[in-house]
Symmetry: C2
Subunit: 236 residues, 2 copies
């Protein structure tokens, strides 16, 4: 059975509803989202196979999830490095950054150099609110992700993919197919074109909201904040 | 080797520092604290042994940790019931309550009745800022916890215990020895008198702050947000 997907428009509406009627703060939701991302990295990249994780963060919420994930990865024993070239002045992101600085997690300005010293990459550049063109510095970064020799986990969407229509026909993301994807709260329509391992995260969606947005709450196991979705289940 | 303890005064100072210089929000810290509590329940009370968890919440932060734990327990498949007789008007607690209401987690006014229908209790009444006398309705509740036939997990402190001096010589908490305790961030001096299973939670303390407050960061395993501390390690 395929998991139902959530359009970009409905993903924004659900986030909004979680934070208004649902009474969640963005701090809470981002903490849980980033925790999910960190757990997917833990499954994909055991520390014994290489503990250097490069987390590429975009300017918005997707980047914020990456910042939270990097902090949890540090506590698990990884050596995260963060690439965060377009830093928001938003208080929350500034605080998430400070939390990493206090742990001495390095921030890098040179993605290509950092890439060569990494065992695994987290693509937290663009999420479900992405549309339009990729601009610098991210177009070069996405090209590097596309050509990377180490595994990439994309958060919510492979960056540069259209949320509804999947991989772009041109531009830096043409041919970019990360090895793994973690969908937050629910898969977006782009999963139809995705060919790697697929995880779902965000174990805070209640039955009522799931019903309202016509989503499936998958069977998480034990204390896991993520669940791996069999490939056939993530197709439309 | 005994884990070093954190006095009530230093616990307050550390919390304050995490939220000022450390740039954490209380939403974040409480989410992670409550998540730790829920993981300790999961270890102590497998769902197959009885999934009815009564969470007794006090008016302050300890109660807030309980509210977060109840939400995570719901998502794990437990049936939490919340006793929360002195509800703060504070926005955060109101929101945590609303999140539970949206999941249809029941709130009860009758602790004694709820106790009879529970398999496990979480004592989130008073934490490290407790001092002085226990007042109603909590004195009767603590007497009931003391006499309970089902296991009790205390959050940060067995409620009514003095943070520095341990179990009280008189009053409702005299003789109250819960079967398990989860210390958040670091054990408080009262652990010297504690005889049950002891967990530590709060996997967000970095090496610098641990050094500043002369605390130990124990070896958490895998993705665990808690670690069980051998009994000899929690003695002074």
């Amino acid at each position: 059975m395929a998991l139902r997907t959530l359009s970009a428009k409905n993903a924004a509406a659900l986030d909004e509803e979680l934070m208004s009627a649902g009474a969640f703060s963005i701090d809470q939701l981002m903490e849980l989202a980033g925790l999910s991302v960190s757990q997917a990295v833990f499954k994909l990249q055991p520390i014994s196979k290489g503990n250097r994780i490069l987390v590429a963060c975009g300017p918005g919420n997707n980047g914020g999830d990456g910042l939270v994930a990097a902090r949890h990865l540090f506590h698990y024993g990884y050596l995260p490095t963060v690439y965060y070239p377009k830093q928001s002045k938003n208080d929350l992101y500034q605080r998430l950054k400070k939390q990493l600085e206090d742990l001495k997690v390095p921030f890098t300005d040179d993605f290509h150099c950092a890439l060569k010293q990494s065992d695994h990459i987290v693509d937290a550049i663009f999420g479900f609110s992405f549309s339009g063109e990729v601009r610098e510095p991210f177009s070069k970064v996405i090209e590097a992700l596309r050509d990377a020799q180490v595994p990439v986990l994309a958060v919510d969407a492979p960056s540069s993919w259209n949320i509804e229509d999947g991989p772009p026909d041109s531009g830096p993301g043409k041919g970019f197919m990360p090895g793994a994807l973690i969908s937050l709260t629910a898969p977006k329509p782009l999963v139809k074109w995705f060919k790697g391992r697929h995880f779902l995260g965000g174990r805070f969606l209640g039955p009522e909201l799931a019903m309202k947005y016509e989503l499936d709450v998958p069977e998480y196991q034990g204390l896991d904040q993520i669940v791996e979705v069999p490939v056939e289940d993530s197709k439309l």
